[in-house]
């Protein structure tokens, strides 16, 4: 069972998923559609970095994936606070 090929195929599927969601980020009629697309692409980037770590044989990339999950959440909440309160503080 060639797990390397399976991981590579899963990486390509994740990139395909990112491109589909990108369409919604460009198109989305309301700004909340775009913020939702940013959140989803952030989660998929977490997945992609973890997969790249296993493809290249370095599980140290999981630290980066954990950081992305945190940054994704903080950026989403910050954008929503901006949109609701119209100020940054």
């Amino acid at each position: 069972m060639n797990l390397h090929a399976v991981n590579l195929a899963a990486g390509c599927v994740v990139i395909l998923g990112i491109s589909l969601v990108l369409f919604r980020a460009i198109r989305g009629p309301t700004s909340y559609d775009r913020v939702l697309a940013m959140n989803v692409i952030g989660t998929k980037a977490v997945l992609l970095v973890a997969l790249i770590g296993f493809i290249t044989g370095r599980p140290e990339f999981l630290d980066i994936a954990l950081l992305y999950a945190v940054i994704n959440f903080v950026a989403t909440i910050a954008i929503l606070k901006f949109v609701e309160y119209r100020r940054l503080g």
Partner: protein, 110 residues
């Protein structure tokens, strides 16, 4: 012993890819923001959990480095499980306060 671990990991990755792609297709095709929020939030988190369990099964072949990788995978899953519902709720609340209207089928008044 390693044979069924490989097959289970492949099956989990395959299932996770299917859930991921169906969520992305739903994000394109659904008619309004709230239904897209359903598709994106649920499918995304589930796909991540399935992928991470599949990778956790694969990390056993790395020895002690795989053990720390497995712990980090579990940490990622725990963090996403906690914060993804919070982000989804914040999104839907912000959209509701901003008076984004849900989609209604033409001709009904429910």
């Amino acid at each position: 012993m390693t044979h069924w671990i490989d097959w289970t990991s492949t099956a989990l990755l395959l299932l996770g890819s299917f859930v991921l792609l169906s969520g992305a297709v739903g994000l394109i095709r659904f008619p309004d923001f709230y239904s897209r929020l359903h598709a994106a939030g649920k499918n995304d988190s589930l796909a991540l959990i399935l992928f991470m369990i599949g990778l956790l099964l694969q990390s056993f072949r790395y020895g002690t480095v795989g053990l720390s990788a497995g712990i980090r995978l579990v940490l990622i899953v725990a963090f996403i499980l906690v914060t993804s519902p919070v982000a989804t709720h914040a999104l839907s609340r912000a959209a509701w306060i901003d008076r984004v209207q849900p989609w209604r089928r033409e001709g009904t008044n429910d």
